[in-house]
Symmetry: C2
DNA sequence: AATACCGCTATCTTTTAGGATACTTACTGC
DNA sequence: GCAGTAAGTATCCTAAAAGATAGCGGTATT
């Protein structure tokens, strides 16, 4: 049983790393933590992500219920991406990641 | 300034995800959180990782001072991999990852 | 001497992620 | 009606990650 538990944990770790891993997903989420954003705003924010990749990442995150996409009804074309409640629950996790990252840099460089 | 801060955070997130990200690294670390292990023990633990990949991941983690490798002097060939102090500092983070992962599965499936 | 396990390394192939670039549709303002 | 911006799609290409498979040097086991 102990072993089964462990297997589940490993699966959890892999799941989560799948979600926030990769070159961009974590960054997209982190950027949306700040506030909701539009497509091109995100694009600028992330520096040199290509639209193709950004689209894919956003779709993936939507599928995983972390991000919601809403078209603003009236006015010009404008789509808002924001974190869902579930997505927001990642916030403390990302906070810890950032904190550890800063510590890590010191350890490796120092 | 606010924006610069944000840039730094994004870099941190990406750094960390580089380390614990990918298909296997997080799982290797999580498995070692439990206790120190030998090569084949890790291999069995992780299910279907190939030796080639496991070797590479372990080397990477060693380089980043997260894992230490020690050959047991006497007796049969036996190598112990364990977390360094720095590696252990990842423990709470991994704990949170597991916790969030479990919650996430419920949200996505439920 | 034969078998078997440990800790790998080597080679080869497949899969995947992601970049580059161009194009499209829809609306706004002039 | 033309340019500009937003929000993407479509197509093609490359590099890197990881899988499959085989083998090797050592030890210990019988």
């Amino acid at each position: 049983m102990r072993n089964k538990q462990k297997q589940i944990q490993l699966r959890d770790v892999q799941d989560v790393l799948d979600i926030i891993g990769g070159r961009w997903r974590g960054a997209v989420l982190a950027s949306l933590c700040d506030k909701e954003k539009r497509f091109n705003e995100l694009k600028r924010d992330l520096g040199n992500i290509t639209p193709r990749t950004l689209t894919k990442e956003l779709k993936y995150l939507e599928m995983n219920k972390l991000v919601s996409r809403e078209v603003e009804a009236s006015g010009g074309a404008s789509v808002l991406y924001s974190l869902t409640t579930h997505g927001k629950s990642l916030n403390p996790l990302i906070g810890q990641i950032v904190a550890w990252g800063q510590k890590h840099r010191k350890v490796v460089l120092g």
